[in-house]
């Protein structure tokens, strides 16, 4: 069964450092999402891509966060500089928004970030 891949699974960094997370969606899925899940809460969308284009980044803190999906396949989420409040699980999801319009989002295992 195809899965969303993410790396690294765990990342520990010091505040003010830069961190980057990578996501490879299920093959053929045109839509890719990055969510942030703070401990004890539900995930919240940071950014959504349709192919290589950003369609929703309204909740992305653009002064320190950036995301790209250059070839419309895999994606990178970067934080620079990291702050203590960025400690969370970063989840990537993908969906097939094509003709079937099933639009179920399938999630990867996540990257747990700890900022010291």
């Amino acid at each position: 069964e195809a899965e969303v891949a993410q790396s690294p699974r765990y990342k520990i960094t010091e505040k003010s450092q830069a961190v980057a997370f990578w996501c490879d969606p299920i093959s053929g899925h045109a839509t890719l999402y990055w969510y942030r899940q703070i401990l004890g809460q539900g995930p919240e969308l940071l950014v959504q891509f349709q192919d290589e284009s950003v369609v929703d980044d309204s909740q992305l803190p653009k002064d320190r966060f950036s995301a790209e999906r250059l070839k419309g396949v895999d994606s990178t989420l970067k934080i620079q500089p990291a702050e203590l409040g960025d400690s969370a699980m970063y989840l990537c999801a993908s969906s097939n928004s094509g003709g079937t319009r099933t639009d179920t989002q399938y999630f990867g295992p996540g990257t747990r970030l700890t900022v010291l």
């Binding site: 969303v4 839509t31 539900g42 989840l91 969906s95």
Partner: protein, 113 residues
């Protein structure tokens, strides 16, 4: 704006007993409703969804959910809970196909042997 409420932080149930996890939602237009389960330090695993059609939706691992438009609810149910069902359950809503999911705060389910 869309929102989801999961009124119970935790649900305790004995193995073999029925399990219900409550969810109510608010969204403009027809909702797309989802249930996911999360095990410790793992991503979210899709259980089931309601898009249109029959109000009773069947999903993975014996779970089902009932869509009630008048009560704006989408409660998750399982007739006979297993210890392995112990996990964190999230209800989510989207207002259109392909749009972002808005999640509830999650309900922790503990099934005791």
């Amino acid at each position: 704006a869309q929102s989801v409420a999961q009124p119970e932080d935790q649900v305790n149930v004995a193995e073999g007993n029925p399990l219900t996890v409550k969810c109510t939602y608010s969204v403009s237009g027809n909702p797309y409703l989802f249930w996911y389960v999360q095990y410790p330090n793992r991503g979210l695993q899709f259980l089931l969804k309601y898009i249109t059609g029959d109000n009773l939706v069947k999903g993975s691992y014996g779970f089902e959910a009932e869509f009630n438009k008048s009560q704006t609810s989408f409660h998750l149910k399982k007739p006979s809970a297993l210890v392995s069902d112990s996990a964190l359950y999230f209800c989510a809503v989207s207002k259109a196909a392909g749009n972002k999911l808005t999640f509830g705060g999650g309900t922790r389910v503990l099934v005791k042997p």
